[in-house]
Amino acid sequence: MTAQRGLTPSQTIGPFLAIGLPWPDGPEVVPAGTAGAITISGRVLDGAGEPVPDALVETWQAAPDGSFAHPDDPRGAGPAGFRGFGRSATDSAGRYHIITLRPGALPWPGGGTEAPHLDVSVFARGLLHRVVTRIYFADEPQANAADPVLATVDPARRGTLIATPAGETGQFRLDIRLQNPQETVFFDV
């Protein structure tokens, strides 16, 4: 066994991430117009309720059948082809959006089933390390009620993790509030 190496610490993404990180197809986990595609959008807001125009929102999720195209999934890697990853820099109004397919439910290693969800990283100037949150879906009330992660969250705050259907079919909204009073639940992963 090699000696343990010291880990590299985090630093802020800073205000100039737009030079290097946005990809033209970043928000498109699947191309717009894909059958069954949904759009999740919202704003990133600071403690004064002002939009954060220099944030990067990244998502990672299972495919609709609950698989991951990844060799470390102990159930075996799912079929390749679903990227599972979305990246959206916020615009001048603090808005992000991700076009994707609904993730499937997942077996929880501690027993039980995780409701469909996306893992989310938020990076911004003023954040010295990413903050991690999740996006669940309001139209999955039974799955959410049985979700082992939501169960660890104060019921009064769970709503900050649940995207709500908005307007047309396939549109979901969820704002990410970095600070009080409606502060989003962030996770220590």
Binding site: M1, Q4, R5, G6, L7, T8, P9, S10, Q11, T12, I13, P15, F16, L17, A18, I19, G20, L21, W23, D46, G47, A48, E50, V52, E58, W60, A69, H70, D73, P74, G84, F85, L106, P107, W108, P109, G110, E114, H117, D119, F123, A124, R125, G126, L127, L128, H129, V131, V132, V149, T152, L178, Q179, N180, E183, V185, F186, F187, D188, V189
Partner: protein, 233 residues
Amino acid sequence: MTGYERPEGLHPPLDSPEYRSTLLRAPKRPPVRLEQGLTEITGPLLGAERVTSGDADLTTRHPGEPLGERMILTGRVLDSGGRPVPDALVEIWQANASGRYAHRVDDHPAPLDPNFDGAGRCLTDSDGRYRFVTIKPGAYPWRNHLNAWRPQHIHFSLFGRAFTQRLITQMYFPGDPLFAQDPIFNSIPDPKARERLICRLDMDITQPDWALGYSWDIVLRGPAATVFEQEHR
């Protein structure tokens, strides 16, 4: 199922008031501990489709060469057990030699360089190694406090192979006299951990009569020995 270690006291506290932008952005409530499930131990395996040839050389993308001190920057992406992280996307962005970013928000009155946009990307090889050719970025002023200047740095974005390993950080240069007054560098609690963000001048990488060489390794969280079921029964 194997998860990833949880570093304690490594990263800067989000609540670091000397860096003023944290005041309205750092969450006030403590984070909720998330056990690592399938979503956390997997992650995007972004590959060659994200990188085109020439992306790793920031000096040859325009009709002329950028001004500044040409440099080669290379190193390995490893986990804490020393295992290389192969085929992983590494993205960088930086100021030009004058300390100016090619970004509309940067109003520092230093010259833009039409031959430098400051973005690069590459994939690590089977040994976890990345390599960029660029120019040394300049220091630049910012408005955090009176007469605040950022030490010279290059921004790095790393994926590893799991959501849990995702990291964005900055790499600094040896002996920078601006370290002492920089609240971002000093937000890292452990001075030894700060030093791990500083690259090393490496004469074996330096190419005679052409460019100085620097080396910098990046260490991501490694697998933890604990098994979920035993930990939480």
